[in-house]
Subunit: 197 residues, 2 copies
């Protein structure tokens, strides 16, 4: 009734984004209409361009706007280090930390017998090929500390064993973490990996 | 670093929407890119059209895509009843309830000495003109139960007194509300407005 057309359709489509519901989608759409020149028009233009240009990097699986992503093209990055992550969001999280200066390989998920995801469904054959063809000295398995993530890490470790140095992220108490709020698995891992002060 | 261009710009602009922060904006953008045909492309098209077409109804201040909004154009609605609200979002909330079949007048805010908002900054002169020119029998003041909202309601009541029947929304216990969680003002209002069962 209020506006049968585009505004209502925009609200309903915005409400399908993760993190937004019907209420926040309405608020966001009103806000965008009020800030048309600052927000709605630029957003429309950016979305049009990203819808046209976004693609997976043919080399590592990162999402960018070129066939080979910025990171793979960046000559200042260390070619010898390859960080294997499950998802593009993990790659982005790693980049925000700024700690890693090598290159990435995005698997696109984890192995899962239940969901019938085998190595061929992921970017695992490509990973193996990169280890053979690029001058990689160390592969860092930065998979999530979930059962599926660790299963996948073990599978990859089996595949690459003897061909390259394999490491994984340290497990322990997160910075700012309080023991009282940590699960037993994390405390056990942190205790087993304890270091001299 | 991850993508200096449009994807990063899209994330940063999405993060400026109410209800989204940097983290949820990243999740939303990744989700949109993955659902390009279902989500990103239609969103871009809708936003482009809404940015071009959205406007305030010249009569009531509702936001729509025509000079006179759907509600003002709808002949089935009761011309005699006029519901005065602060904001378009209040109008939308009222429409969702489906209880009101008259027309609206959106003030565009409340009077505020602090923010130097006087009657001329709101749609109050236009309200007065509508009461004179349209066949309005009752004006329902559906302003928020805040100090500014009630101050504005009093001002409008003063202006329109004697020219039209004035009513306001009932105050009381919200449906599903538990007394234990209600503020004293609401309980007082509900007690004072108590009705025979």
């Amino acid at each position: 009734m209020r506006d049968g057309g585009d505004i209502e359709a925009l609200i309903q489509m915005m409400a399908r984004l993760p993190g937004l519901g019907p209420r926040s989608a309405r608020r966001a759409v009103l806000h965008m209409i009020r800030k048309r020149g600052l927000l709605l028009t630029p957003l429309a233009e950016l979305m049009t361009r990203v819808a046209r240009d976004a693609r997976e990097c043919l080399n590592c699986g990162n999402i960018g706007t070129q066939d080979i992503c910025d990171i793979c093209q960046d000559n200042r990055r260390n070619n010898g280090l390859l960080c294997v992550v499950e998802d593009v969001s993990d790659l982005w999280a790693m980049e925000r930390s700024g700690v890693f200066k090598g290159r990435y390989h995005v698997l696109g998920g984890t192995l899962s017998a239940l969901d019938q995801v085998g190595p061929e469904e992921l970017r695992i054959p490509k990973l193996s090929a990169r280890v053979d063809s690029e001058e990689i000295t160390e592969v860092i398995l930065a998979l999530n500390a979930t059962i599926d993530g660790q299963t996948t890490a073990h599978y990859i470790a089996d595949q690459l064993e003897g061909r390259v140095t394999l490491t994984s992220l340290a497990q322990g108490v997160p910075i700012g973490g309080e023991l009282d709020y940590l699960d037993e698995g994390t405390i056990t891992a942190a205790m087993n990996a304890r270091k001299p002060v």
